[in-house]
Symmetry: C2
Subunit: 225 residues, 2 copies
DNA sequence: AGGCTATTTATACACTTGCACAACAAGGCC
DNA sequence: GGCCTTGTTGTGCAAGTGTATAAATAGCCT
């Protein structure tokens, strides 16, 4: 029995208008939409249709740019990690600053916006929760973490060298691990409960803790600029 | 046209045998199966059928103990948080120990098994990633975190009192926040990459960092027991 | 032993999901 | 302008989802 009802009378074949975008742009839009979806609804809520809707396209298009959903998620996570580490490292390039000032700036940068950010934390946690089962995710994290820690270790070495101290490799590594933990821990606290801390408070706590870890004498206020 | 094929010849009505368990036991089994499923396959992979299979029951039974999937997940998370904080606090009850020893024991306990555990971390990350969107989750975490930090603050106060130091409330709070961050950060590192550290190494790093934060003189080896 | 009831199984259902594919049209190329 | 490539849409489908509910049975009570 054929369908006699005609919901769209005659002018029916209205098809959605669209624009062709460059491959780079579309991929980036899709990745951004994926991260937004994951941040908002978790991995379970990030369906192809949700993502496509947010990106302003239809679901079928995703398969034109990515082999499948898993690849889209992996590329999205890689993009996220890349952006995070890039931001963190950017705080280290300060020409004409003392090692100690650079270390303090590094800590400060990592304990304020945009690195302290609830959305980024939500994404990080969601993805990292699967690192135990997903080796690709685990490796992506491991590389990012070690890169970060090496940066810390390099700055610490400079700071101590400026203080005429020459720690052995083991002590240096321990300092880097501890400082890394301080930054990570405060980062988590700030992301999860930012309103519990006054602006700049976390950075102050972090700098003090890091300098205590390195056994640096408290910095005189007048030397700081 | 009726079905003439008879796949299960006559003896068909074989139904799965089962045992009736007490309500408490079943609920606990279901929660444990839920946590296992989430840890292994993430929230998206934790389906009612998977959970039921792991618990040794059929999916329908879950609805007999929980109104829906969401309630099961929430109760599971609550159980997880409860177990974690319980473990952490248990390390603090040491009769006849000096405050400093208790603090060190607290740090040590939190940086070794069973608190350093990849499965627990995976669970924690998976759930906490949704704290930004789920207010019930966020509150559960907030309470756990503040409880933990208050414990830290209390021990820190004892330690400093034993050293004849009387910090004001603000300094005490900052110490607690920093120490909390040190423990959290090292906990994360240990859970994510435990094999990168030798046994007890994280605890050593943690104790040193905490004592540096509090400005305690390095402990003599012979005074420790 | 025999029945009662709450626990448990099994099936059904409406809905969503990721993926496949055919139709279509946007925009560069001649 | 007209064609041709390919980015894009829309539809279809099988598998899986949470939930609802009827049928069965385990184990206690008398």
């Amino acid at each position: 029995m054929p369908d006699t009802t005609d919901p769209a009378p005659m002018n029916a074949p209205s098809r959605r208008k669209f624009r062709r975008e460059g491959e780079g742009r579309r991929r980036q839009d899709l990745i951004e939409a994926t991260l937004d979806s994951v941040a908002e609804h978790g991995l379970q809520g990030a369906t192809l249709r949700t993502i496509a809707l947010r990106a302003g396209v239809t679901a079928g298009l995703i398969r034109h740019y990515f082999p499948g959903k898993e690849e889209l998620l992996q590329e999205s996570y890689t993009a996220l990690v890349g952006r995070m580490t890039e931001l963190a490292k950017a705080a280290l390039v300060m020409d004409g600053a003392s090692p100690r000032q650079r270390l303090a700036a590094f800590v400060t940068a990592n304990l304020n916006a945009p690195i302290i950010d609830a959305r980024v934390f939500s994404l990080w946690a969601t993805f990292i929760g699967r690192a135990g089962a997903d080796t690709a995710l685990a490796r992506a994290h491991r590389e990012g973490y070690l890169g970060f820690r090496n940066e810390v270790e390099a700055v610490v070495a400079e700071v101590l060298a400026a203080e005429q101290r020459k720690p052995d490799a083991g002590a240096l590594r321990h300092h880097a691990i501890a400082i890394n933990a301080i930054i990570d821990g405060l980062w988590m606290e700030g992301c999860l409960a930012g309103e519990m801390f006054s602006p700049g408070e976390l950075a102050t706590i972090g700098i003090k803790a890091v300098e205590a870890e390195l056994g640096l004498a408290p910095q005189d206020q007048f030397q700081q600029k």
